[in-house]
Subunit: 130 residues, 2 copies
């Protein structure tokens, strides 16, 4: 089964060196969502947290050499599914960011760890376990 996706928008940020993970980021930027999806983002509002799924568009092709990697933070080599490396069998990223505001289909966010130009695939409301 081959799965085909199309970006719904793109990350824009002036931050040149984004933090390595959203859990430690205060970096700001915008999610520039395509205008055809404006109705779909209309209920996103300032102050809420959202889950952003995105595509690591600059990652090299995954090979079995990347099944185990040495993360930037950590005691040593780890299986790829236990770390947040952008080099993964499916190069998908997931970050939780804070919404600062929204204008049409442009969402201003804080706490990003994606680089400028990153394709956005989906946005979901952030939920925690009851």
């Amino acid at each position: 089964m081959k799965i085909e996706l199309l970006p719904i928008g793109v990350v824009k940020t002036d931050v040149k060196k984004v933090p390595r993970h959203w859990t430690i980021s205060d970096a700001e930027g915008t999610l520039v969502i395509e205008e055809q999806y404006t109705e779909g983002v209309k209920d996103i509002h300032a102050g809420q947290r959202i889950v952003v799924l995105f595509y690591f568009h600059q990652s090299p092709q995954f090979t079995e050499d990347f099944l185990v990697q040495v993360p930037l933070q950590g005691p040593g080599q780890m299986g790829v599914f236990s770390i947040c490396s952008p080099v993964r069998p499916n190069p998908l990223g997931m970050s939780v960011v804070e919404v600062l505001g929204i204008e049409g289909s442009i969402i201003h966010i804080k706490g990003l760890d994606m680089i400028d130009g990153t394709p956005v695939l989906d946005i979901k409301p952030y939920r925690e376990r009851d």
Copy 2:
């Protein structure tokens, strides 16, 4: 930019009616990851929580009629990016589940909201903001 992904495994569960969301689920099942990725899951262990990205393989084709939907829980119609509907421009799902145990590339989990046969795309460690 067209993005192509391949499943890394599949969800198996005997639960016929899975809860509508992982935040309220105690349902159990397994992530049957392909053997070629066994080294990549070796550091996943019982007791931890993991993020599972998956593909809503039974969703109908997205059209603009689905930009706004009435969620099962909620006061009325909402933009698709503010709800967890499986009918989305890119039909990607994200759930946080508890690991009960792992045998090779078979991960036993609790708290799932995916139906039997759901293609798994990625697994990440669960993190919260510092």
